[in-house]
Symmetry: C2
Amino acid sequence: MLVRLQFQNVLAANVGAHGIPLEELVAAREEHASILEDVHLERRAGKHAFLDLPYQAEGAKEWAQFGSGVGRRYKNIVVIGMGGSSLGFAAIHRACSHPFANLKSRRAGSPRVFVLDNIDPDTVSALLEVAKPRDTFFNVISKSGSTPETAANFFVILEKLRKARPDTWREHLAITTDPDKGPLRSFASREGIASFPVPPGVSGRFSALSAVGMLPAAAAGIPIDEVLEGAREMDVASLQSGFDTNIPFQIALIHTLLARRHKSIAVMMPYSDGLSGFSLWFRQLWAESLGKRLDLSRKEVHAGQTPVVAAGAADQHSQIQLYVEGPNDKVIGFLALEKHRKRVRIPSDDASGELGYLGGTGLDRVLRAEREGTQVALTRANRPNYTITIPTTSPKTIGALLYLFEAAVVYAGRMLGINPYDQPGVEAGKKAAAALLGQEGTEDEKKALRAFLRPDKAHTLEW
Amino acid sequence: MLVRLQFQNVLAANVGAHGIPLEELVAAREEHASILEDVHLERRAGKHAFLDLPYQAEGAKEWAQFGSGVGRRYKNIVVIGMGGSSLGFAAIHRACSHPFANLKSRRAGSPRVFVLDNIDPDTVSALLEVAKPRDTFFNVISKSGSTPETAANFFVILEKLRKARPDTWREHLAITTDPDKGPLRSFASREGIASFPVPPGVSGRFSALSAVGMLPAAAAGIPIDEVLEGAREMDVASLQSGFDTNIPFQIALIHTLLARRHKSIAVMMPYSDGLSGFSLWFRQLWAESLGKRLDLSRKEVHAGQTPVVAAGAADQHSQIQLYVEGPNDKVIGFLALEKHRKRVRIPSDDASGELGYLGGTGLDRVLRAEREGTQVALTRANRPNYTITIPTTSPKTIGALLYLFEAAVVYAGRMLGINPYDQPGVEAGKKAAAALLGQEGTEDEKKALRAFLRPDKAHTLEW
């Protein structure tokens, strides 16, 4: 594999005062060099459990076997899970599958695949129309086992599944959750449902390479050993104490130093539709890991870049005007492919006049020129940007990309002095929602919330 | 219709120094009141042409007739267009159609619908696999008629279409472009292809309610007269010189005043999957219209909020940690439905213990509690947010929403003193891409670009 990071356009030499002076980058490297050693030692002591996920050979065998079994037997696979329970799988599946896989005629071992990651009743009922429970395998994923949206969808589906398959409904289910506790774990034990562990010490957004992402990937027909192999190859790079090959460390440095220069927005812009799922996965990873009120010394820092997802070349026609001319508050990360899977040639017959230059070339070449043209335009406007190139979209390269950014965000967390693994800021909203729904023991809170939410006529417009 | 804007949580009374003091809001209203009068007068003088699009009764009839004809005759409809040429249609289609429409069994008048808005060769070739040109109607859309990505895709498809239908290929096409000039216009005239105008004086991102969005909407089976009716109803609101019903003006005020308070990011967060297309449309509208280097007096201002798309409740599990605890640099706009189309009840049988509160309630109620809980959490953390509620997703309400934000962005442009209709910042990248692809007369530029893009070994990491 060859993953390449080109970062000259984040340097002051290319983008002026909005970039990083080379000497600052070199100094910061030295300053933070100990992070690599520290993480390495802590990993041996059992911290950073996610870093070892690509080495679960036995688990991988089990997931592949179980997954390919259900992939053969069912017409549809539905993953039910929120955030970290579904974004990793969705990223892998999008990168490794036919873009319109669900519309292709079925072959054995290639079921249709759906991700149910919301509770919009219009979506849920529509999904159950096109993926009838009687033909469908459901993988329910929640680390705690008590994620309300996941539970709500599961209860809805369970009722229909039991009705459709009164004797065999249990076979239509796999539950991925905490190995020991929580409502989903109890349910699986009580009913004898196939179940898989979310490994202890791994938060959802770092769990793509565990059963969380690998089981449904195997069911979707993806060779998960290759995904894990790609991650292992990147692990070697991220262990390098030499800086010259450690791409995750360099990414962390770039983002941290640019955040100090008021680049508060991190744009991820792949020039590959197959990486659109990766962008959404990155968006959670970056936001939840680095968006923190307190640093490790409990000082208020309100850290975190806001990750933004963009798609090249499409969003040149939507976002580039802002990126080039608006506030200089972004770092743009381009993702490029050395090679697309298909080659599509533009015929010369109709490409004449001012469009003549398109004739005879390939869509991949046009896509590349669009990306390079955008890089030039951004750099000339002093907007820092870097480019990561991977050979192509494949199980191996998506495994490497996931691992690359997981390592990068942990290094960045160290540089910022924050804890990348927790998410204390989501509790307040969760609790408020549960109270509003009448969770036992929250009656007082509910009353306070109702008062808070009372319509404020003076500050309401209606039409 | 009842569109409701609740804005108490953008006020200093609720979010402290991060919000707008009520007296400042009142003063700004008065200060900018003349904008309403000015736009009204200029509109009569033929400016702001997009504002009159909902009144094209004859056009609407023609689009409906032509569209429903092709909708009946073809198995697939493919829209080929970038940015403003496709995002408006995609927003309308997503709001008005079954979430998995392409997987449902076909009825007459309900073709499968695809939007081709990128030139990834893997996507293009996959699309042509599942939507065979012989069964497909293509609507090619480009205002200038020379958008390179649109032209490239069109040339690729044209060759295959001619081969598949040597005698009748022309019937498979409609071209929507400038009424008088450009390569697509010439092609349509020369070959006798059905064609429709992008109205003069309307930039792409304001063109959803013209043939650009309405023709494919009609082909997809959407009652476009209702879309236009919704827009007309909102037009009445946006004409109100009274502030008490003018939602677009109020939205413009809120965003402008919060931008001054360093809320540089505008999050659009619908709690409805059907509005996901609307969010992407909004993202272009807000970014391209307000992201400007120069104001009208040619002063460098680098204006513009960065629009960010989020999905409730899904992104509570991805972005809310950052929104609640990270930098206080956002205004969050919630979109809510009074009523979803379907009702899905959560059965009580399995909802026990800590999840007992979910039993017997509806998914819509859970979704609502999640939104309200998130609003409370954000407000308590002093993060400004507002809520727009519409009755439901329908042709009429999506028409109203599009018009609402088009008017709002024009008002906001006035308040910022910038031109919301141009996009000068996209030219540089476009030109560079064309030069890299060997466009005639750009040989010197190409040489310079190649030098600029030469790999910089010293600032490249490989693994």
